[in-house]
């Protein structure tokens, strides 16, 4: 795609070639943004390109988010069971809710869904 544009501008005008390319990239970015308004674009900080080593950090971050959600759910369920004597209902309900919260955390951390703020942070 776009072979004719590249052929015409030739090798003696690399800057014009690059300008065309960057204009096409911008256009594509705009069109993609229209299709996925929920998805933060690549230029946003949450999606910053990662080196191989910080992929470990990213994976680690996602796993702690999930575990934290489940742990909080379990702790609250246990406390409610203890105070209200509803064992094991509170634990069952809140463990499931905690799991859902953990998955939500992971999706937010990965940038799949946007954080729950209507007023988006200014970039």
């Amino acid at each position: 795609m776009g072979d004719d544009a590249r052929g015409k501008s030739g090798r003696d005008h690399p800057s014009a070639d690059e300008a065309v390319l960057s204009a096409r990239l911008r256009d594509l970015g705009k069109r993609l943004g229209r299709h996925h308004p929920d998805r933060p674009s690549d230029s946003e900080p949450g999606q910053r390109p990662t080196a191989d080593t910080s992929a470990i950090a990213r994976g680690f971050r996602l796993s702690t988010e999930l575990v934290a959600g489940v742990l909080v759910g379990a702790a609250i369920g246990w406390l409610i069971d203890r105070w209200a004597g509803t064992a094991p209902l509170g634990m069952v309900v809140f463990l499931l809710l905690g799991f859902a919260a953990g998955v939500l955390n992971v999706m937010r951390a990965a940038g799949v869904v946007r954080a729950n703020t209507l007023d988006p942070p200014r970039r």
């Binding site: 900080p45 080593t53 910080s54 950090a57 680690f60 971050r61 702690t64 988010e65 575990v67 934290a68 959600g69 742990l71 909080v72 759910g73 609250i76 809140f94 809710l97 905690g98 859902a100 919260a101 953990g102 939500l104 955390n105 937010r108 954080a115 729950n116 703020t117 209507l118 007023d119 942070p121 200014r122 970039r123």
Partner: protein, 248 residues
């Protein structure tokens, strides 16, 4: 040779007991003071001879200021700048503590969850107090996503609350576990070098491998130390943003 030994807390100076718990000045406290001293010296040294053309130390301090200020502005908006002292202190403390811990024979303050949990709870309580002080009960709208049918709210709101409550846990565990795991790995591989080295000539040849890995891991740990301080700071900014703009 015990890889856990480096994390032991030793009492250096006991102040007596309160409620059955010994209150003591520990090696951890010593290294927290060293961390504070290093940061203070750096900042005082940077600002003592202010020049239009900055010296090396001055430009280091200016770079760290610009870095945190930029991060805070881009995530929490210019209103977030009132929290700059908090975020900058947290970032510098964690960064300096992580880096000091990488020096052999030094104690890593951030490898203890009690330290990272207190820092994370500090942020959590700040978010709660500021959020309720500024928005009152409107702060609860943080837990009510917009554009969701009424029947679903019964399910979604508890999930949002749990997600909010799990923040200090993931915030503190991430830093603590990264530092703990990194230091244990380093110690284990360095231990291999000593063990193989005691086997004679062939052992020396074999020890080259873990020695190279230790060098590589040290470089990786340097990256992790800086990265985790940055991650802690940026998450603080994101959480503060919720307190400043709880949405809707």
């Amino acid at each position: 040779m015990d890889p856990i030994h480096q994390f032991q807390i030793k009492n250096l100076l006991s102040f007596g007991t309160i409620g059955g718990h010994e209150i003591a000045f520990t090696n951890s406290a010593v290294f927290m003071l060293i961390t504070l001293g290093v940061i203070t010296l750096l900042m005082i040294g940077a600002t003592s001879a202010r020049g239009l053309v900055p010296s090396r130390v001055q430009s280091l301090a200016e770079l760290s200021y610009e870095f945190i200020a930029g991060t805070l502005r881009s995530t929490a908006g210019s209103e977030g700048m009132k929290f700059f002292p908090l975020v900058f202190s947290l970032f510098m403390f964690i960064l300096a503590a992580n880096l000091i811990g990488l020096i052999p024979y030094m104690f890593t303050v951030t490898s203890h969850i009690i330290i990272t949990a207190s820092l994370a709870l500090l942020v959590f309580v700040t978010v709660l107090v500021y959020g309720f002080a500024k928005h009152g009960l409107h702060f609860f709208r943080l837990f009510v996503p917009s554009g969701i049918p009424k029947a679903m709210l019964l399910l979604v709101t508890p999930i949002e609350v749990l997600s909010f409550l799990s923040r200090p846990i993931s915030h503190s565990v991430r830093l603590f576990a990264n530092m703990l795991a990194g230091h244990i790995t380093l110690k284990v591989f360095a231990g291999f070098v000593a063990m193989l080295g005691s086997l004679g000539f062939l052992g020396w040849l074999g020890a080259v491998l873990p020695l190279g890995l230790t060098v590589a891991l040290t470089a990786l740990e340097l990256l992790v130390a800086v990265l985790q301080a940055y991650v802690f700071a940026i998450l603080t900014c994101i959480y503060l943003n919720d307190a400043i703009h709880p949405g809707h």
